[in-house]
Amino acid sequence: MPLVRHRTASRLAAGLALSPALLVLVVVYLGCTAWTVWISLTSSRMLPNSTFVGLRQYASLMGNERWQVSVANLAVFGSLFLIASLALGFLLAVAIDQRVRAENTLRSIFLYPYSMSFIVTGLVWQWLLNPSFGIEKMVRDLGFPSFHFDWIVRQDMVIYTLVFAAVWHAAGLVMAIMLAGLRGIDEDIWKAARIDGLPPWRVYLSIVIPMLGASFATAAVLLATSVVRLYDLSVAMTNGGPGVASEVPAKFVMDHLFERGNLGLATAAATSMLITVAAVVAPWLVWQNRRARRAQV
């Protein structure tokens, strides 16, 4: 009997159902990425051309002051935002996990910013941080006339205001992930720790945090991808200003694609972003995969 697989209608239907996904993957994801990478290797400006120039676009990108500012901003923003969101989110989760009253209300308060868009977030914080009407003015009127909180209009400080707004937006997400992790910890661990006479802070530090490794990784990866995608917040809150002080790579790409008409440079910047993401996500995916496989065995 020859081992010819009997192709049934159902198997055909399954293949058919997967064809949109396959099409999207090949045409949009792979095709468009390849196209973008190709353009970044040409001398394209307003219109794409096929004059191959090797890595020259990347060289001029590295020398571009605005790009340098964008990358530096992303590094500062990314590290501060990650640390602050993870720390605040974790502390909130721990605090809420102490059998507090009004747990549901508190959770809703910490998470609601995450439901709103970066545009809304940016506009609110722009208003709050406005030196003439916002927090600075309010504190001065309270009797501290020398109070200064004008970071949003200062080139050297503006990036921290973005961190502020973004932490407000995302800390609740970290809290939700961490809280789920905490609730997943076996109650017996706490009983054992109490019998051993460990103080709570010690239990959190030495036992709970290591057990929440997966929650931390998930939250960190999620936040990290939103860092690389950071665009709306900068547009809404400062529009990259003052000057170019709060520019970010995603905005650099968009501006050079659609306003400045420099395709080669924009695509080189986009490709650089892709490489950064791959460097962050690939190790995590490998780790997740290995963990999943270990769990199967």
Partner: protein, 358 residues
């Protein structure tokens, strides 16, 4: 009533990726036969059942049902019905919906569906549950519904994949009887997978004991219990488990016997299949209920487990533990010494290296 079908599995091989799950397996199931595939988890018994159902593709070999090669047929075209361990009831449908779904898909006229569902429900005494959802049923009721869903298909072959494993002991016993009654009534061919040797012994016409991707022994419950083909079958079937004593085979003054730690147990009367050589290392197996008091084997009682209808005494023979079934009223005290008899016709002798019956 569905037509009667035999099932023939011919040289079937199955692999998942690089992992071989079934090794070139042959099995013939006669019309109206109740065959149980018995084995520990991972032995390939469920895989074999899924292959018969057409839910898993085979890499080699053929499956015939009712004289027709169905190796590459869809499950619905094989004339089979199946009952699953987790019941696999569709949670968003009522009991009636669950039972009639397959018939509806097949385009059967409504009155006929109605008739079959009502008949099956009456047989299984679930008529009053027909309009409930699976979530509103107890475990036993769910499994009845799952059996009902198989019943309405009016199939020639019924496949059971550990149908009672999720139930508690009492319900299991109850439904076991029900399934046996159903088999007698329908006279359909049934293939039943389980890891519970009691289910196998009570239900089966024949048992196929499986381990490590192959059938270790195929025989009636009696054969499997009395003359296990190897040490694995001997240890897997029977509860309390068979005792094993390591030792050597010897011929003393022309009579075969088993030697362990200076104790000689005569083997004259044992039906050898392949008599070993003098001095060969062997293992002696004997079931607790076959150990008798009042012989020449010295033993010491270490502990007694009362089991209600009788009691199990744990003894030591030489350095080896041995259990023995005693009547409930027997007065036994731990620490007491006693003499045992191991009747040769109840013994099992296995090759120490291969585990094969000697």
């Amino acid at each position: 009533m569905g037509k009667l079908c035999d099932v023939s599995i011919r040289g079937v091989e199955i692999s998942f990726g690089a992992v071989r799950v079934l090794e070139k397996l042959d099995l013939d199931v006669a019309q109206s036969e109740f065959i149980v595939l018995l084995g520990p988890s991972g032995c390939g018994k469920s895989t074999l059942l899924n292959a018969v159902a057409g839910l898993i593709d085979v890499q080699a070999g053929q499956i015939w049902i009712g004289g027709k090669n169905v190796t590459w047929e869809e499950p619905k075209d094989r004339g089979i019905a199946m009952v699953f361990q987790s019941y696999a009831l569709y949670p968003r449908m009522t009991v009636r919906g669950n039972m009639s779904f397959g018939l509806k898909v097949a385009g059967m006229p409504k009155p006929e569906i109605e008739r079959r569902v009502n008949a099956a429900a009456a047989t299984l005494q679930i008529t009053e549950l027909l309009d409930r959802r699976p979530a509103e049923l107890s475990g036993g009721q769910r499994q009845r519904v799952a059996i009902g869903r198989a019943l309405v298909r009016d199939a020639g072959v019924y496949l059971f994949d550990e149908p009672l494993s999720n139930l508690d002991a009492q319900l299991r016993a109850e439904l076991r009887v029900e399934i046996k009654r159903l088999h007698q009534r329908l006279a359909a061919t049934m293939i039943y997978v389980t890891h519970d040797q009691i289910e196998a012994l009570t239900l089966a016409d024949r048992i196929a004991v499986m381990k490590d991707r192959v059938i270790q022994q195929l025989g009636t419950p009696n054969e499997v219990y009395r003359r296990p083909a190897n040490r694995f079958v001997a240890s897997f079937v029977g509860s309390p488990a068979m005792n094993f004593l390591p030792g050597a085979f010897a011929v003393k003054e022309g009579a075969p016997c088993f030697l362990t730690e200076g104790i000689a147990i005569p083997l004259s009367g044992y039906a050898f299949e392949a008599p070993p050589q003098d001095g060969a290392p062997v293992e002696l197996g004997i079931r607790p209920e076959h150990v008798e008091a009042g012989g020449e084997v010295p033993a010491k009682i270490e502990m007694v487990e009362p089991m209600g209808s009788d009691q199990l005494a744990w003894l030591r023979v030489g350095g080896h533990p041995l259990s023995m079934r005693l009547p409930a009223e027997a007065c036994t005290v731990a620490g007491e010494a006693m003499q045992l008899r191991l009747p040769a016709d109840k013994l099992n002798l296995f090759d120490a290296a291969t585990g094969r019956r000697l």
